[in-house]
């Protein structure tokens, strides 16, 4: 056993991002910079119908008038939007020769996913989980496609959905996050390249976990995926996204948009394990994760549930939200966010209660170590017309060491007197005494931290699909190695 003194934080930091490699995969790329031609180029590369091209251009023109938001509690140098590429497609995954089956998926991409621990091949793939694999701008493989089709569930790249199910896409795209919503969502609307589309027909409870694995590979490329999930009445679907990126000296921008629509009695469970490259020990490099995620619980008694484990990225800026429009609808947000080294996270949720008897639950656990800065920002809004709305919020922060910070900004806006609100917030420090207790019983330092942190995050980890809970638990442990002691 190595005594803790012998490992410097730097050494551990160097080893701990295990997905920091990149592969040389030939790609078709757009030149650097952003203008109308680039937007048209992306649309043409995807063979899109005219309406979508117009939709993108409208977004682009709106975007040129917008200002980058400066209210999040994060700091970074200005981003030069003309100095990055907006489209990169690994050649094997290009639209014209999109793989019909996994046999046609490029070996290098299969190998890349194996290295990520997501085998796509027939024999090895994860039981009970259908995976859509996205590299840079495009989807490269989807598993269990036929099994899903038999049930009437559509799960495919959004670029394919635009071709094959234009009516469904046109009806729902931008219906939850309008193209004018915010700076990064509008940018995404202009340049989004691919992402996942999922449609669950009426009365179908999808028995498979649907999962997308995003991987940034090409250098200097932003990733702008777009996910749309529609659950028809009385349906259920559980969806999980995982993300990794190579270690790069430059910052990479990730500006995704996710829209969820749940109709009467439908339930969508959306889980994220985010492990984008966080940058090195000096704070060089790392992904800027500026994401807009919103679900509309449109139908009566519908339910949208977000669970996220945010461990990566240099900066995370995201507020998965629920619009509780249907009477009796339910919104949930379960989050664990870890910031270590120089990571900054400003994350939380918005629960907008519009319907009667709506209820929402927010459980946010933040863990900060080293110089990490973690901000919870959450809004609960009870509209005037929403009778008997209920919200319970719990925001707990854990600090490891003296240089990190945790901040909580709850915004509560109640316009209807029948609302019942509960808010709790705590801050704890991993105590020397907790560590000593566990070490006295024989656990080494790393196991002790892992155990304390997992215990702290238990309520949220419990919400993840089983297949991923184990991965998430390990990730929390790995992230904090060397931060205590």
């Amino acid at each position: 056993m190595t005594p803790p003194e012998s490992k410097t934080i730097e050494e551990i930091a160097d080893e701990d991002y295990e997905h920091g490699w990149s592969m040389d995969i030939p790609a078709t790329e757009a030149p650097k910079g952003l203008n109308e031609e680039i937007v048209e180029y992306i649309s043409e590369e995807n063979d899109e119908p005219e309406w979508l091209k117009e939709w993108r251009l409208k977004a682009y023109n709106h975007w040129t008038e917008m200002e980058e938001p400066d209210w999040p509690n994060v700091e970074y140098p200005p981003i030069d939007f003309q100095d990055m590429k907006y489209y990169s497609a690994p050649e094997a995954g290009e639209e014209e020769d999109a793989p019909e089956s996994l046999d046609e998926v490029d070996d290098e991409i299969l190998e890349m996913y194996e290295r990520l621990g997501i085998p796509l091949g027939e024999q090895k793939r994860l039981q009970g989980v259908a995976v859509d694999a996205v590299v840079d701008s495009v989807s490269v493989a989807t598993t269990f496609k036929e099994e899903l089709e038999d049930m009437g569930v559509i799960f495919c790249p959004i670029s394919e959905a635009v071709q094959d199910y234009p009516d469904i896409v046109k009806k729902h795209l931008g219906s939850v996050v309008p193209i004018t919503d915010n700076f990064y969502a509008t940018l995404n609307s202009a340049v989004f390249s691919d992402g996942s589309f999922c449609y669950v027909p009426e009365g179908v409870e999808c028995p498979l976990e649907l999962s997308t694995y995003f991987r940034m590979n090409a250098e200097g490329t932003g990733q702008f995926e777009r996910t749309l999930i529609v659950a028809e009445p009385d349906s259920y679907v559980s969806y999980l996204e995982g993300c990794t990126a190579p270690a790069r000296r430059d910052h990479q921008l990730h500006a995704a948009v996710v829209e969820l629509i749940a109709k009467d009695n439908a339930e969508i469970k959306y889980s994220t394990v985010q492990n984008w490259y966080p940058g090195d020990e000096e704070g060089e490099g790392g992904v800027y994760n500026f994401v807009t995620k919103r679900g509309k619980a449109a139908g009566r008694n519908s339910k949208i549930s977000w669970a996220q484990v945010e461990t990566g990225s240099a900066i995370t800026w995201k507020y998965p939200s629920c619009i509780l429009a249907g009477d009796g609808s339910v919104g949930e947000f379960y989050s664990v966010a870890i910031t270590s080294r120089h990571q900054q996270a400003d994350t939380g949720t918005k629960m907008i209660h519009l319907g009667d008897d709506t209820s929402s639950t927010i459980i946010s656990k933040s863990i900060s170590a080293d110089q990490g800065q973690n901000t919870y920002r959450g809004q609960v809004k009870i509209n005037e017309g929403a009778e008997n709305a209920r919200n319970r919020s719990e925001c707990d922060s854990m600090l490891i060491g003296d240089e990190c910070g945790a901040h909580t900004f709850p915004y509560i806006d109640v316009e209807n007197p029948t609302a019942q609100m509960e808010h709790e917030a705590t801050t704890t420090k991993i105590g020397e005494d907790q560590m000593f207790y566990l070490e006295q019983r024989g656990l080494d330092e790393e196991d002790a931290v892992r155990m304390i942190v997992n215990g702290f995050a238990e309520e949220v980890l419990d919400e993840l699909p089983m297949e991923f809970a184990v991965e998430a638990r390990n990730l929390l442990g790995i992230k904090l190695e060397g931060s205590v002691g």
């Binding site: 056993m1 907790q434 000593f436 070490e439 006295q440 024989g442 656990l443 215990g455 309520e459």
Partner: protein
């Protein structure tokens, strides 16, 4: 549970503390402790609040807040002070805490099985499966009259004072350490619980190699658990040692007479504490 230095004369010495000085926050607490504990012995340590009893226990278990300023501690022939806390646990040192720590969200089952398996692994044994562990844990829970749902609950969270203490003995029974440091495990127990805990300790003593250091304020536990030696700590030193009769005398007369007899003072704040209590 084999003894290490079987071929030396000091065959039965398990723990040898020699002139131990310990400080915390730059304040000296222990000022020259000498204590030898042989295999199979039970030593009771008594002494007024703040005299340094817990400090001694935690320093022996390897708490990093306690700085060793001087002295040596040999355990099973090894330099104990060289080892990290977890390595000491692997070598069979166990501390039943005066104030067991709560760890929310971590079930006792997960915790204790991880602890047991890290000790087994360090000693070259195969890990115990969940099934085997459960069987062992059930047997020990039963002996200590603890409910099985103790395993499912978060570690010490919301346990009553007495439950926490009994739980420490339960953990000790599962881990089967060689040197047991029990810090006021009898405080805050009702009469029945005291009997149960005492029985638990006596069962552990059936192993003739196992040694115990039992810190207590009350002579009562020593009626159930007979000590080989009784020591009185005062101002960070062992002021007086004797047999069980010493404990009886303390129960009657308090600590002042030892102060007078030995000339060892409690520190000013300790003296103050004694006045107000």
């Amino acid at each position: 549970m084999s003894k290490i230095n079987t071929d030396t004369n000091e065959e039965s010495t398990m723990l040898e503390i020699d002139n131990l000085h310990v400080s915390a926050d730059d304040t000296g607490i222990l000022r020259g402790i000498d204590l030898d504990v042989d295999g199979g012995e039970l030593h009771a340590i008594m002494g007024p609040n703040g005299s340094g009893k817990s400090t001694l226990a935690k320093a022996l278990a390897g708490h990093e807040a306690y700085e060793i300023d001087e002295g040596d501690v040999t355990y099973k022939g090894k330099d104990l002070l060289e080892l990290e806390a977890d390595d000491r646990a692997h070598e069979g040192v166990f501390l039943a805490f005066q104030y067991p720590v709560e760890i929310p969200g971590v079930t006792q089952m997960t915790f204790l099985r991880t602890a047991l398996n890290s000790i087994r692994e360090a000693n070259g044994k195969d890990p115990m499966s969940a099934g085997e562990f459960l069987e062992l844990a059930r047997e020990k829970l039963d002996e200590l009259d603890l409910p099985e749902d103790m395993l499912k609950r978060s570690l010490n969270e919301g346990f009553s004072g007495g439950e926490k203490k009994r739980n420490e003995i339960f953990q000790m029974a599962v881990l089967q350490p060689e040197l047991c440091l029990l810090d006021e495990t009898d405080s805050g127990l009702d009469i029945d619980a005291l009997q149960i805990v005492a029985d638990g300790i006596n069962r552990m003593r059936e192993d003739e190699d196992r040694s115990m250091v039992l810190i207590t304020h009350y002579e009562r536990i020593l009626e159930y658990v007979e000590p080989d030696h009784v020591h009185v700590m005062l101002g960070g030193q062992i002021a007086k040692s004797g047999g069980p009769e010493l404990a009886e005398k303390l129960e009657e007369k308090g600590y002042d007479w030892i102060e007078e007899e030995t000339g060892i003072q409690r520190s000013p704040q300790q003296a103050e504490g004694a006045l107000t209590s």
